[in-house]
């Protein structure tokens, strides 16, 4: 992996990555003067965000009202995630030879300079420290993560790993979550293939819950919970979508979404930055297999939320933490969305209108071929 670090005119960091060295990575900044950014919006964006404590749920909520005006499904001719082709219409990215790009979100929920939180509230508040990054998967606006060549997907994983390590090393960051929202059905506002990274100043509730369940299991049984789950899935076999030398993918026996899939290394690796090369390669293969099955199932792009669940970025050891990707597609059948409503959002009990064995059978029947 080769990289080049740049700073955008408004001070935001930009990193360009390439798979292979083809000489220095080209990519020059495009805006003629500092303070001017894509669409000329930077000057209007007053960044201010903070966290408030939700006492009933015991969790932090983030407020970032500058995000209300973020870019929303712009016309095709103005794609802020494509490389700039004319200095008259600069995008977020320079022209040049690179495969993946990462930059700080223009509308961050969490940032290094979030401003002061309000002082007149009756609950605990704190600045919304952290970092929100955009990860552009490719220069091709018509591609998708699953359509990229295997070594390109490996590069995305390596980029995620590098960001996990680098952001996690910061004192103000405790947890790093790369994710991809794909499809208008899950609220995507830009169609160019991309994901995001949220780096949190605390351990967020869902990883916290999963890590405490994993810790309890590890302390009782002496192996990671995911190791046992993988064994169970392989022994059963009905829900397995990919079984490689280093990783597996399956519709979990306890899927909350009809087409939910988990992708995980076989070995108990806690975080992306702890994967070795063979693990990284096989994880990419598992991802490509699942994403191709999704798109081929109904012969159309398949929307999903994909989130990386990994160990925290603190100094201590986490032998119980077992990295995995959770994919949560919003469809329950070809023409029906699964809405989260009363029982899911009000009570927290998911109601799945199908059994995982049936949905896995649909996905298993989709044949996927690639190099």
């Amino acid at each position: 992996m080769f990289e080049r670090r740049l700073q955008k005119p408004d001070g935001r960091e930009l990193i360009l990555y390439a798979r292979q060295s083809r000489g220095p990575i080209e990519g020059d900044l495009f805006a003629p003067s500092p303070g001017v950014t894509p669409g000329g919006k930077a000057a209007e964006v007053k960044r201010s965000s903070h966290l408030r404590w939700h006492p009933l749920r015991g969790e932090w909520v983030a407020y970032a009202s500058h995000r209300q005006n973020r870019t929303y499904l712009p016309p095709k001719e103005w794609n802020p995630l494509a490389p700039t082709t004319s200095l008259d219409a600069p995008t977020e990215l320079p022209p040049g030879r690179y495969d993946v790009a990462v930059f700080e979100n223009l509308f961050p929920t969490l940032s290094r300079d979030p401003g002061e939180p309000p002082k007149d509230l009756d609950i605990p508040v704190r600045p919304a420290h952290g970092r929100c990054e955009v990860v552009v998967f490719t220069q091709d606006p018509t591609a998708s993560l699953g359509l990229l060549p295997l070594d390109h997907i490996e590069l995305v994983l390596e980029v995620w790993a590098q960001r996990t390590a680098e952001l996690g090393a910061r004192d103000d960051i405790e947890y790093v979550m790369p994710f991809e929202n794909k499809g208008v059905e899950v609220g995507v506002t830009l169609h160019h293939p991309h994901g995001q990274i949220y780096a949190y100043p605390f351990l967020p509730p869902i990883p916290a819950r999963e890590l405490s369940e994993q810790r309890r299991y590890f302390e009782t049984v002496g192996r990671t919970l995911m190791t046992s789950i993988i064994e169970g899935e392989i022994a059963d076999g009905r829900r397995v979508l990919y079984e490689g030398p280093e990783s597996v993918a399956f519709v979990p026996v306890c899927a909350r979404y009809p087409y939910e899939v988990w992708i995980t290394p076989r070995s108990p690796v806690a975080r992306l930055d702890l994967l070795n090369a063979a693990q990284n390669r096989d994880l990419a293969r598992a991802m490509k297999t699942v994403l191709r099955k999704y798109d081929l199932l109904w012969q159309r792009p398949f929307p999903y939320l994909m989130a990386v669940h990994q160990g925290p970025s603190d100094e201590s050891e986490h032998p119980h933490a077992h990295l995995h990707l959770e994919l949560s597609p919003p469809y329950r059948s070809r023409d029906r969305l699964k809405y989260l409503a009363g029982t899911e959002l009000g009570a927290g009990m998911f109601a799945n209108d199908s059994v995982p064995e049936e949905k896995a059978a649909e996905l298993r029947a989709v044949r996927v071929d690639f190099d």
Copy 2:
């Protein structure tokens, strides 16, 4: 409140409620022979549902594959929640004089006879015991909960209270949650004004979390957490939407959704069935105030999820539990939905693109007049 209990031809219970005695509540069963139900569907519905343990999250997930074929936005001329007008086309409800009706869901996630769970899974499973009910708020398919007269909304609250008490008294039920999903934006499949009740065989994760936070607060401070929240909201004043003798409504200082509202009695009442008449009446007034503000804000029906958060239905005392309604609308502005995506569903940290003070100001500015 007056009621009449009936049994539908397929065995499901049906209860008709009226505000005032106008003689016996009329309402006769309509189907000529047992086993025939609305749309002739009953025979096709093979009910089978079970719960699987999600070991990573430590929670139960429900599976009910018969729900995949449930009624979905039927044509206007066939409204299963309207009173039957012709014996040739029976609906779920009989003709007759009643204001509110409750019946067991034809496609229940939780039921008394859920069948046996699969025996060949590698995780804990159990039958999906419990009950799923439909609550039809009015005979008028063009009305909405907020448009009903105040004493009709009071009746809905009384019905919820009666269901809470009756279902909660069952040995196999530990928690009762009435809720309303309103609007196609939140996945509503039938437009006739109605809500649902889920009666769970366990304490679901979200109430469990809220109750444990409330208990901790109560044991430390000696009053309910909601009592302190109410005091804080009233002292601040900027987010208060209704302040009556017995109840208040406000955009909470820690709102996760832009237009989120909580409605709660001032006194620490644990459950709906413990409200007295004055509390019930003022809670109805608060509800009507909020729901009218919602609809008048953009001069169009305002979608939302409304869930009742109350104390558990077990024998023990819950002095820390403070009943409240949480309303979570899916819009973040007039033409933008708030999608739950990476940070919300993956990490559990909600990112609100507005501050509660701003959204409350919008709702406070909407003038509501009723009797």
